[in-house]
């Protein structure tokens, strides 16, 4: 019995972490967040490590790894607030195309980092405002909101009925929708009766992709929150007030203890949820829901508390701590807010209608 990452997964984590430390310092994140640069360079760099093709089988040009490996990568990406279309292009899109057995020709270009696939799932999870899409006779009309990845070449669009269509970004009117978290992009897509290719009419395909994405997003929060705790503890040890490091004040110590007490079990939960997606299908859905919702809650409290431990410095842009705060906030709201996701968890167990 061995609960934890394999040697290969630890190596994967180390190499991604090293790459990000060397190539995506906070300065680079700031540039992307401020619009001075796009995340393309980062994505190209990650392509050399095989990240876009992580979950794509080798015979399609990928690395052929599983969900737990994606969890490992997301933990690193979140920990570094790395700008990238990882969840959309590397997790959701390959899952859908492979599960549906459609347009597998795209997989090679995804793995090669040449093609990015955006995701418009909002309407299938719980539509906001007047977002709605209609498909008839191979044409799609309407609009999607807060779709992932403004720079995508294609979008996978899910309807309320959980059918999934592929549309080309160049056929649509795509407008960036800035959110608090500028390390990932979201957009509005207007479809004016344009070509839409049916990829799947099986809701199970949508669900499989959503489950994976939720666990991966939870892992991104895990990484971000862990980073914030590490920073808070380190800052408290060097910051002196009243002639002592603030880390020696019981109030500060207990804030840090509570943060890690809340987050530490999340690591095991995220790992197990990743493992379940690969190997314990009967538990995977429930795990995906609970992991997404639980990490959303812990992410919120940790990101608040870690900011507080930093005092005024946490509120400024000087240390850039807020990028992690906002990353946790983004992950909480996207792909299902906790209330919605917990209700799904109840439904899965026959506890809600």
């Amino acid at each position: 019995m061995r609960f934890g990452l394999s040697e290969e997964q630890t190596l994967l984590s180390d190499s991604i972490t090293r790459f990000l430390a060397d190539n995506v310092p906070l300065e680079e994140v700031r540039k992307v967040a401020s619009g001075e640069a796009s995340d393309s360079a980062v994505w190209q760099g990650l392509t050399e490590l095989g990240v876009p093709g992580l979950m794509i089988p080798e015979d399609h040009g990928g690395v052929g790894l599983g969900s737990l490996d994606a969890v490992v990568v997301a933990d690193c990406l979140g920990g570094n607030v790395t700008p990238s279309p990882f969840i959309s292009s590397a997790v959701i899109a390959p899952t859908i195309l492979l599960a549906a057995g459609k347009r597998e020709d795209l997989l090679g270009s995804i793995a090669g980092g040449e093609v990015r696939i955006g995701i418009a799932f909002g309407e299938a999870i719980g539509a906001r405002v007047d977002a709605d899409v209609k498909v008839s006779g191979g044409k799609i009309s309407g609009k999607s909101l807060f779709a992932l990845d403004t720079q995508a070449d294609h979008f996978l669009v899910a309807t309320k009925g959980k059918h999934i269509y592929l549309v080309s970004a160049s056929d649509c009117e795509v407008t960036d929708l800035p959110t608090v978290d500028r390390t990932r992009t979201t957009c509005e897509i207007k479809y004016n009766d344009v070509a839409a290719e049916l990829i799947s009419d099986d809701p199970a395909v949508f669900t499989e992709a959503l489950d994976r994405a939720r666990v991966v997003m939870a892992s991104d929060t895990l990484g971000a929150a862990q980073h914030m705790i590490d920073e808070a503890v380190a800052y408290a040890k060097v910051r002196e007030q009243f002639n002592r490091p603030i880390a020696s004040f019981q109030a500060v110590k207990h804030m840090c203890a509570q943060m890690i007490a809340d987050l530490e079990p999340c690591r095991s939960m995220v790992w197990y949820a990743g493992h379940a997606l690969d190997s314990v299908p009967e538990e995977a859905r429930l795990l995906a829901c609970h992991t997404k919702a639980h990490l959303a809650e812990v992410g919120r409290s940790v990101s608040k508390t870690a900011t507080e431990v930093h005092g005024g410095m946490g509120f400024t842009d000087l240390l850039g701590l807020h990028y992690w705060f906002k990353r946790c906030g983004f992950n909480r709201q996207m792909l299902g807010v906790p209330e919605v996701v917990r209700e799904e968890a109840a439904r899965l167990q026959g506890l809600a209608a």
Binding site: R128, P178, T186, F315, T316
Partner: protein, 394 residues
């Protein structure tokens, strides 16, 4: 329980309302330094609706202090969304300080122009190394002939880039115990050796600045109070600032905006207010806001009635009020889902982006103005009589 202010004050309220009706087309001045702003300030002072208790000789209205009248003015202006008088730390912090501790010359020189918007001030208290432990500040001022020579830096200085003058705390007696080595100085912001850097915060606005001093020379007499007495000078009015950070009436107004939002925004076609989980959270917050509102009435009453005391009710306002507002803003964000993330130029912004902005801003207020951990120290020590922590002197 007598919640009316009585007939005298009701007629005063009518007076204020008449004024508001007369001036109902008054626009909010675009900026503090604008001519329109100064002119409106003049009108308000003449009517006695701002600078009410500041002596006439210093440009004020010269009335006796009357908390009820001040409150009535605030209430009526706020209800009518009528622009109030000029604000800023010069008016709210420096003028009361000078009135209490300044020399006649200082009062003469500074109060009137400050009041009338001719002289804008910033405050230089906190330093990068002196936050919760403000008294450990290190910016030094050394007397060289007839001048103080200042070196060091200040942080959290709002409006530094607009200010003509700064009032600040500096260490003038390096060998004295830390609370006794500080002096309160006034200095012109165009003095050579001052550098201002905007300080961007997590809302991505430069609401604050850092100010750096390199051999900044200030005339010897620009000190308020005596050498080494600056801590007492500053503390004479510090308490006022803290209370205003978490006004329960503002929370109530904000709550009503949240209710409106939840009545219009939808999730899967259902109004947010119809979702039992969000509605329950809304009601929980409403209950807490109401409790804070009556707490505030009790605080006011204890100020009006000499025989009433409510020190704890007053002491807990900042701690509770800032956490409550932060949670209130969070509920709006949560309930809106992806839409709640909107920021910047996003066309789906709700409330002009104020929900995310205030969510972060109130986290800043949880930290600022004495962190909520410092507040809990104060409440337990001064409010509950619990012992201080053992002190460590270096």
């Amino acid at each position: 329980m007598e919640l009316s202010f009585g007939p005298e004050y009701e007629s005063f309220r009518e007076e204020v309302r008449d004024f508001i009706t007369t001036h109902k087309d008054q626009q909010a001045p675009s900026s503090a330094g604008s001519e329109a702003g100064k002119s409106w300030q003049k009108t308000l002072i003449e009517a006695g609706y701002t600078a009410r208790t500041i002596p006439k000789e210093y440009g004020g209205f010269g009335a006796a202090p009357d908390m009820v009248k001040s409150r009535i003015i605030n209430e009526e202006f706020s209800t009518a969304r009528m622009p109030g008088g000029l604000g800023g730390q010069g008016i709210s912090m420096l003028i009361p300080t000078l009135l209490e501790m300044g020399t006649d010359e200082q009062k003469e020189q500074f109060i009137k122009p400050t009041l009338h918007g001719e002289m804008v001030w910033c405050q230089g208290y906190s330093e990068p190394g002196a936050g919760s432990d403000l008294a450990s500040l290190r910016t030094s001022a050394v007397l060289d002939g007839d001048e103080w020579v200042i070196n060091g830096s200040k942080i959290w200085t709002s409006t530094a880039h607009l200010a003509h003058w700064m009032f600040c705390l500096v260490r003038t007696e390096p060998d004295a115990p830390k609370h006794n080595g500080i002096s309160f100085l006034l200095l012109r912001m165009d003095t050579p050796g001052i550098e201002i850097r905007p300080l961007v915060d997590m809302t991505m606005n430069a609401n604050f600045n850092e100010v750096f001093f390199t051999d900044v020379r200030v005339p010897k007499d620009q000190i308020v109070g005596r050498r080494g007495q600056g801590w007492q000078v500053a503390n004479a009015i510090l308490g006022h600032e803290r209370d205003s950070l978490a006004d329960p009436n503002a929370s109530m107004t904000r709550l009503n905006s949240l209710i409106d939002l939840m009545k219009t925004e939808t999730l899967g076609g259902e109004r947010l207010i119809d979702n039992p989980l969000y509605r329950e959270r809304l009601m929980k917050i409403q209950g807490r806001v109401m409790a804070m509102r009556y707490n505030d009435m009790r605080v006011l009453s204890s100020r009006l009635n000499k025989d009433q005391e409510a020190p704890l009710a007053r002491m807990i306002t900042k701690l509770q009020g800032t956490e409550l507002r932060h949670e209130l803003e969070a509920l709006a964000i949560d309930a809106m889902g992806e839409v709640g993330l909107s920021f910047g130029s996003n066309p789906y912004l709700r409330g002009g982006g104020s929900w995310q902005y205030q969510f972060m801003y109130f986290l800043g207020l949880i930290i600022g103005g004495g962190t909520n951990q410092i507040q809990k120290n104060i409440i337990s020590e001064r409010g509950l009589g619990m012992p201080k922590e053992p002190k460590i002197e270096k």
